[in-house]
Symmetry: C2
Subunit: 606 residues, 2 copies
């Protein structure tokens, strides 16, 4: 099947109309829905807008919305027809042929399908006279028509070739609608498909629709099933995004448009049943460090049992290893003020080149990394936040060479046997306006899936929402995305939610003892926390005393035990995690006390 | 009646426990509710926390919450009693005597009032043994007990002197509860009152409660009636704020605590029926201008018919007058980079000193303005955003001296008779995290009331929420507060929502002609907007042509006609408004096209 056309409503994006069109074209969209307020806000006559779209390779697939047309008393319908005539005039000047008509909310409207069908047929007559057509959509809050099947009954009754359906996934799913019946609608009567995802929210549909829609794959709606039914019906029009979201409406439209189109590419994969990429665990994590505080990071690694096993032959980059865990520590150049941060995540794959190609197909820019002589050619793409995603080969047989033999000169140091087994997870902290994009990147490019619903905790400097993404391999890649719900103003200087690298360990108390022996101050949250563990019956008093001595935190149900460092280099901390049973946590319940203690340690330290 | 004690839950404020306590004490609170997670996040033992509170003059009025105690099967209740014993131990160390027990959400709980009463009585026995007491609160989402009257039936049934009610205004009003019955509860059985306001939101009570509570006077709940009933019942405990709000939870706790306490002072005024201050209109607006672009502002004023009537004797400040409108234009010092902005709002009052004193009673800091010789002593307080609020005498009889005869040297210029009558309104644009505080300031200090529900419009760079506040005097003081719902990141450089000063005029087209004659470019939104006015039947084609020629915008229903300038000095625009009938608008519906055109004009200009 040829690729479906991808379209996007201008209402999804921020900026002036010209900003939106430029962004949509740059992201590879084929067309737009022109949202009337964007036209009204433009000083250009419709012909000029049409030319601009054509120059950018964008069709104007839909003119929208026209409201409150059907089921009206005669005088109101006469006024409505004047609005229709104007809309058709503008459409002619734009060179577009399909108008979206939303089901009426007008309090004068009556619940009379015959009247609605007759009036819509009149509207369709006028459209047909000009070679145009009307796509009728049931708003979830329409006064009398608010389900897709009701809108279809009216379209059937009108039986007019220029009148068809517009199916909107939000209006359908937000009212618990079932898309299965769409299979039985003749494909040629489905004039348009508007796609939006959304989180399940227990709130009125209208504000839910106007503020909280998301791009497909970012929310909870089953859009794959919907498009499968539309495929079965024979719908061959565009997949068009109509996503009203407060965050996207104020965000740079260029990355937002890329995020939007990635969502459609992901949906196409889901529909085709494309298997998710098979991963083989986390090969390494790259930390970029601030030259002034690099020692904070490397001292902590050493205290956790890591050995510096290699020194890059040409760059201030060192390789640290412990058990199956590898960290690459790159000291930033003196004039690079970006600070200590997770700069790269390397995943193993049986087909690294295929994984990288797939990422670029999903609009992640390929990063050409200079490499010389016998250095490994690392395949990498850049995530939306600038983090590099390295695609590495699978782990070699014991004794075999790994993928970068030439890059690092061995230091001769061999890590001692210790409790560290590998990388448990990496926790990243995008700002709240970039979380949906980061989640979609993890889901599509890496094929990770959310492990559970998001958690929200009240941290000392604001509410923090987190979610764990992972694949289901025996050695999973796990990424936690955490962000403050709101953040503005000068309070809470510094980074309130630092990133972390969590190491999987067999014995967290052994790590604590080794760290103490090495002089590393693990985070101490104080006695109240341990008294509470006992009061809640999580551990007994003797165990609590031992945990406190070792500074071990115990997340909610007790299956996730961890020690954490203070914040290193201003933005990252290390964590050693011992899991029991099939624990799927990531320390979310502990985050508030952990963050308070980290803040106090920072104050004490400086 | 002696002043009621004011208390605040530590959960209302952002930061570490010590930040919260400092902020509460500095704002004049008498006590706090200690939220258990704040205790767990503190490394200090309870005794040290108690001492810190005592040193700050803060009582610990409540320890909260203890959850899931009542209606439980025996084994679960035994575990719950262990938690109770721990809580009572901690309370003893804190020196606090009242614990909040929330109605159970535990799925093991049974709907059995006798069991619940018996178990709560057991808990109360343990508290009584230590001289403590239990305040039982119905959570709005409690499994079996979720209304205050149900919680009261259980407390009555338990009939234990150490068991009483905690009344929480959110839990009561969010479920549509009626507080009238509280009059009949014996005052000594009401152990505690938690106050929170909230906007009416059609969503589940739990997320509504956890994210969207507001301080009294910032939302839609009738808290005055509630406290009146509790007064009638004889409740004499503290008024305590328990406000969970995502914005406050990440905001600087010092101004947030002041905002919080102002809300209780306002509530006390409402309860006492204190009359709102009588105002006599807007005396003047002070604009601070950037020296480099000062001429943009003064040229526009001149084009609108203003004359520079006075020059300050000692400062780079000029007085501009037209009809009853006065603007004071103060050129900033060259090293003051704050940019052009509304720096002051002056209102007239029959008792300026009383108004200023009232403002300081409501925690607005008095601003001592240096004045020399025969200069007027201007009374001023500072609003939370730094704007000065001047309290001026009423307008003198015609021919009489106004309040600042000595400050300005007359230039000899007299404004020509023109269409400008006075100041229609001032529109300010606080960032979204400061809107609730700004609204409360307007409501309490100035006694302004919201004129209608807030409007939300989709502006080119994000959704903007606005609300008009005004008094009901013949010459009203009107303030519009507008803010973007979300704003983060580097898109939309410059200020997306500029402030404005709107002038009331008799004939907006005459203003437009005069402005054109003076060479002032009024904002031109282009033809699509006018075509749409005709299509919607707001005006006919001939009138639309004339409006377009004069660049007049017509808000939603046609009663508000205005011309606006481009953005002057980077942040402020002027507007001339002609109202017909009892129009109560402020150009909200036009804001998106206006903002798009202003943005385009800025691009074209620079």
């Amino acid at each position: 099947m040829s690729r479906r056309r991808h379209s996007i409503a201008t209402a999804c994006l921020s900026g002036l109309l010209e900003d939106k069109l430029d962004a949509a074209a740059a992201a590879g969209f084929d067309g737009v829905e022109l949202f009337v307020p964007d036209l009204l806000g433009s000083p250009e006559p419709p012909e000029v807008i049409a030319r601009r779209c054509a120059d950018l390779g964008l069709a104007i697939d839909l003119y929208q919305p026209v409201r409150d047309l059907e089921g009206l008393p005669p005088d109101a319908f006469a006024a409505a027809l004047r609005r229709v005539d104007h809309a058709l005039d503008v459409m002619a000047r734009l060179g577009t042929t399909t108008a979206l008509v939303c089901s009426a909310v007008d309090p004068r409207g009556v619940d009379d399908d015959d009247l609605a069908a007759a009036q819509l047929a009149q509207v369709a007559d006028r459209a047909a006279d000009r070679g145009m057509r009307i796509a009728y959509e049931a708003l979830a809050w329409g006064r009398h028509v608010n389900t897709w099947d009701h809108s279809w009954r009216i379209v059937e009754r009108a039986d007019h070739p220029a009148l068809g359906l517009c199916v909107d996934s939000f209006h359908l799913y937000s009212r618990g609608g079932d898309p299965a019946g769409l299979r039985d609608v003749p494909g040629e009567k489905i004039f348009f498909l508007q796609l939006a995802d959304a989180p399940h929210l227990a709130m009125d549909v209208l504000p839910w629709s106007r503020h909280h829609r998301l791009f497909p794959g970012q929310g909870d709606f089953d859009l794959t099933t919907l498009v499968a039914h539309l495929d079965a019906a024979g719908y061959d029009g565009p997949w068009s995004l109509e996503v009203f979201n407060d965050v996207f409406r104020q965000a740079d439209p260029r990355p937002a448009a890329v995020d939007a189109r990635r969502s459609l590419l992901g949906l196409a994969e889901d529909l085709a049943g494309t298997p998710r990429p098979r991963l083989g665990g986390t090969a390494f994590v790259e930390l970029a460090t601030d030259p002034g505080t690099s020692g904070e990071v490397t001292d902590a690694l050493a205290a956790f049992g890591f050995a510096r096993t290699g020194e890059h032959r040409r760059k201030p980059v060192s390789l640290w290893e412990a058990g199956g865990a590898r960290l690459v520590v790159r000291e930033r150049l003196p004039d690079d003020r970006a600070g200590t941060a997770v700069a790269g995540l390397a995943v193993r794959s049986p087909d690294p080149e295929g994984l990288a190609r797939r990422a670029t197909d999903l609009l992640a820019p390929r990063e050409e990394l200079p490499h010389a002589g016998d250095e490994a050619e690392l395949r990498a793409v850049r995530a939306p936040d600038g983090t590099l995603l390295f695609c590495c080969p699978e782990r070699p047989e014991p004794g075999g060479d790994d993928f970068w033999p030439g890059d690092f000169a061995p230091t001769g140091t061999i890590p001692a046997d210790g409790p560290v087994r590998g990388i448990d997870h990496v926790a990243l902290t995008p700002p709240y306006d970039l979380v949906a994009e980061a989640e979609l990147f993890c889901r599509t490019v890496l094929g990770l899936a959310p492990v559970a619903e998001p958690t929200e905790v009240v941290a000392p400097f604001g509410v923090v929402r987190s979610r764990l993404f992972a694949d289901d391999a025996p050695d999973p890649v796990r990424v936690v995305l955490s962000s403050s719900l709101v953040r503005r103003g000068g309070w809470a200087p510094g980074v309130p939610a630092p990133q972390s690298v969590a190491l999987a360990v067999d014995d967290v108390e052994a790590v604590a003892r080794a760290a103490a022996a090495a002089g590393l101050a693990l985070l101490d949250v104080g006695p109240n926390y341990y008294d509470d563990l006992v009061a809640r019956g999580v551990v007994d008093a003797a165990e609590a005393a031992r945990l406190r001595e070792h500074r071990v935190l115990v997340d909610a149900d007790g299956g996730y035990r961890h020690v954490v460092t203070e914040v290193l280099g201003g933005r990252v901390f290390l964590e050693a995690v011992q899991r029991t049973g099939d624990d799927r946590g990531y320390g979310a319940a502990d985050a508030p006390v952990r963050m308070a203690a980290q803040r106090r340690a920072r104050h004490a330290g400086g």
